[in-house]
């Protein structure tokens, strides 16, 4: 089930709200729930809607999520940890494990965080590439909306900017 709010991430938070005898349901991903919830939190009444479903836990959530079905006997080349070990301990062996078990982790991360992609800080020194990639993504989005708005002048400008930046990536 998709999140009612962003229509992208899986909905793991399910809210029911009673309003004037009318029941309404909402299905949200944890990050949208976090954003919305903070606002729904009415300090005068504390009428937080009942939680019916998913709660984000620690290792239990991890074990209960994607990691419960190890599909491979895969091993991380860098540290030698097997996927089985990760499932048992809830801990990865080394940073490279994130690459080695990328597919297996994807669903677990979505389950835990409601997301699988980082949108926060990028390290100043070693994050140059990531910063450029993020700029490219942003510009591509702007380009799309410029085209949809039939603002071809602006679209051309964005295209030029994109070319400039993509040079830096090579």
């Amino acid at each position: 089930m998709q999140c009612d709010e962003c229509k992208q991430k899986p909905a793991t938070v399910h809210l029911t709200e009673m309003y004037n005898g009318q029941k309404s349901e909402m299905h949200l991903c944890p990050s949208c729930a976090a954003k919305k919830g903070a606002l729904m939190f009415d300090p005068n009444q504390f009428n937080i809607p009942n939680l019916l479903g998913g709660f984000l836990g620690g290792n239990q959530a991890l074990q209960g999520a994607g990691l419960a079905n190890p599909t491979t006997q895969a091993t991380c080349q860098n540290c030698g940890v097997r996927f089985m070990d990760i499932r048992n301990t809830g801990k990865l062996g080394c940073p490279n494990c994130y690459q080695a078990f990328e597919d297996e982790l994807e669903s677990a991360l979505k389950r835990i965080h409601g997301n699988s992609q980082h949108t926060g800080k990028i390290p100043l020194r070693s994050g140059e590439k990531t910063r450029i990639k993020r700029q490219v993504e942003d510009l591509k989005e702007q380009l799309q909306s410029a085209i949809l708005a039939e603002d071809y002048e602006k679209a051309a400008e964005i295209r030029d900017a994109l070319k400039e930046i993509e040079k830096k990536l090579d």
Partner: protein, 355 residues
């Protein structure tokens, strides 16, 4: 020299109620960043030799930094500390309960004089950078840790992936690696049975509630630690902002409840606080649970202005000073539970009526 004052004194920076905002409800705020070195196995797989390299790299990055708050951190490794001293650091919230169990030479702590900035080394991750301040001040905590992080990153190459963010030993911390938390004292809401209802549902906001000493610890003395659970897919600012919004509303609600209690149940409230004061100042044997419950009542009396000759800071200090390791450190000897209960009663009087 070094961290001695943090071991011997019962006071650390976060206890100073006069130095932070909203201290009538919020005891302290904390932000912690998990960081790891590129390609190096996570601490649970480290041997002594590689572990040593990690700690040396971090220490060097600090001592050679031009950033004074980083350069002035004092270091200690856990082979240099007794188990009691590690417990002392844990009770002061400078290291985690898990970290305190280890006596390895490659695990340790870097910390400043008042404990407001620290770095746990080779806990679950290679680095856990912490900012810990009195009252409700997540923004300042965040600024402090981000500055330390930026300075460290000039020298250390972190395990970072453009897609997953900062890579951590446990996938529950990946992304920002950030855990922000606020320690709240909510006697009013507890008295009116509102806390369960709120905190039962806090998970849907991507947050969680714990006791005084984090994961798996009981709620004692109406002290609640509220923190973010989601670390991936939100920015550091969003995490702080969300937690700030929710905390602010809880603080407002607690004040409203206190206000109505004071109006509607003035005698009962006064009686309860007076009894707590009486027991704390005259008891000769007191358990940790009883003491925390009574200290919570007393603290409420101070915050409501019903008790004027005791400082909130003294009560914050007592929350820690009555813990087992602090009692034994003070006594200079190991003590069984009964001996500690006696010592605890003595320490409470000492600190409450200290001139």
């Amino acid at each position: 020299m070094g961290i001695d004052s943090l071991l011997y004194s019962t006071h650390v920076g976060w206890m100073d109620s006069s130095a932070g905002p909203e201290t009538d409800v919020a005891i302290s705020s904390r932000v912690r960043l998990a960081r790891n070195l590129d390609a190096v196995p996570f601490p649970h797989l480290l041997n002594e030799q590689t572990g040593k390299k990690v700690i040396d790299l971090v220490k060097q990055a600090c001592s050679q930094s031009e950033y004074e708050p980083l350069r002035s951190l004092q270091g200690v490794t856990f082979d240099q500390l007794s188990e009691l001293d590690r417990q002392i650091l844990m009770e002061k919230h400078l290291i985690s309960p898990q970290h305190a169990h280890f006596n390895d030479s490659y695990r340790g702590l870097l910390v400043n004089e008042d404990g407001s900035r620290s770095i746990m080394i080779n806990e679950e991750d290679h680095l856990r950078i912490q900012g810990l301040l009195p009252g409700f001040d997540l923004e300042k905590c965040n600024d402090a840790v981000q500055m330390l992080d930026d300075e460290l990153e000039k020298v250390l190459t972190y395990a970072f992936d453009g897609y997953r963010g900062y890579l951590t030993a446990c996938p529950t911390n990946v992304g920002t690696g950030m855990r922000a938390s606020v320690m709240l004292h909510l006697p009013g809401m507890a008295m009116t049975a509102q806390t369960n209802r709120i905190f039962h549902n806090i998970g849907q906001l991507g947050m969680t509630v714990r006791g005084l000493y984090g994961e798996g610890t009981e709620i004692l003395g109406n002290f609640y630690q509220l923190s973010n659970q989601v670390t991936l897919g939100l920015s550091e600012e969003e995490i702080c902002h969300n937690l700030t919004l929710v905390t602010r509303q809880i603080i407002e609600q607690e004040r409203r409840v206190r206000d109505s209690l004071q109006k509607g149940m003035a005698y009962q409230l006064q009686d309860r606080i007076g009894r707590a004061y009486g027991l704390l100042s005259h008891a000769g044997i007191i358990s940790s649970n009883e003491a925390l419950t009574l200290l919570s009542d007393l603290r409420l009396g101070v915050d409501l202005g019903l008790i004027t000759h005791i400082q909130a800071t003294a009560i914050n200090e007592l929350i820690v000073a009555i813990r087992p390791a602090h009692l034994q450190k003070r006594a200079g000897q190991e003590m069984d539970a009964f001996q500690r209960d006696i010592k605890r009663a003595e320490v409470i009087k000492d600190i409450l009526f200290r001139k």
